[in-house]
Symmetry: C3
Subunit: 113 residues, 3 copies
């Protein structure tokens, strides 16, 4: 974590910006680069009775870090997605609780590691 | 938003009902039709040691609009999914917070647009 | 529900452990085996400017059952995923509210069934 789950942005576009984007996100969040994952979902979208391109969307699943960091994470992702050639994107944050997140069976609030 | 993320319902079935379903959902929610997205996830499901069909499920990600609207959105989706030939479906709502949802880098609670 | 949404674990690995895993989860949760679904998402992951394998992750969507049950569900999933040959896995819980979960159009808090 943070875990970026992406839909509606081509893999090649993500590949093209992933390295500098994650470097900057790691600096903003104050954590290591290898804490980040970027997973693109395979989707088929439908609108007005036809299949259509999926609207570009990034969900960031994380432990809440407060308004300032959240704003900067959203701004960073938006800027790199645009740089990758996607003019519009929405970014939403989903909070996980440390008490309900388990790494290899150990809850993140347990003090163990 | 609202964003409908669907699993376990064939694309052709979604295509067949998407237009009238979204028209009705827009009326229920009091927003434009083009605020809605319908994304179907590619899934493989497993049960009892075998792959199986994915159970029909629709997650509605949105800003909370209260019980009455929620009930009517769930009823509308359920009715159209049945009309598309799927007898059983579960619908769940996931709330996003306006302070944690960014459109082109601007938070939805910011007053900017 | 509970609904297990999996990424980064091969379908064959899930198939190999799904039966005993769900039997044990049903005992832990005190509900029927057929309440559980296991859906694997199709994903493409990106890291450091390249596509990469998706990190093994299981999201459990459910109605909250408290710390003890949650710990045991996480432990059970982790143990079976390891038995399937995946050494590391993260498990996170996403709560749905009974008032916002509809089975065939009926909310789960409605008293109807």
């Amino acid at each position: 974590m943070p875990q970026l789950t992406v839909r509606g942005i081509a893999v090649e576009r993500l590949v093209s910006v992933s390295k500098p984007m994650v470097e900057e996100l790691a600096a903003v969040c104050g954590c290591g680069k290898d804490n980040f994952t970027i997973d693109r979902l395979a989707t088929t979208s439908v609108f007005e009775g036809k299949t259509t391109e999926t609207y570009p969307f990034v969900e960031v699943a994380w432990f809440e870090r407060g308004r300032d960091v959240r704003d900067r994470v959203a701004e960073t992702i938006t800027r790199f997605v645009r740089q990758a050639g996607v003019p519009e994107v929405e970014v939403a944050f989903k909070e996980y609780s440390e008490a309900a997140y388990y790494i290899n069976g150990i809850a993140c609030d347990s003090g163990e590691s």
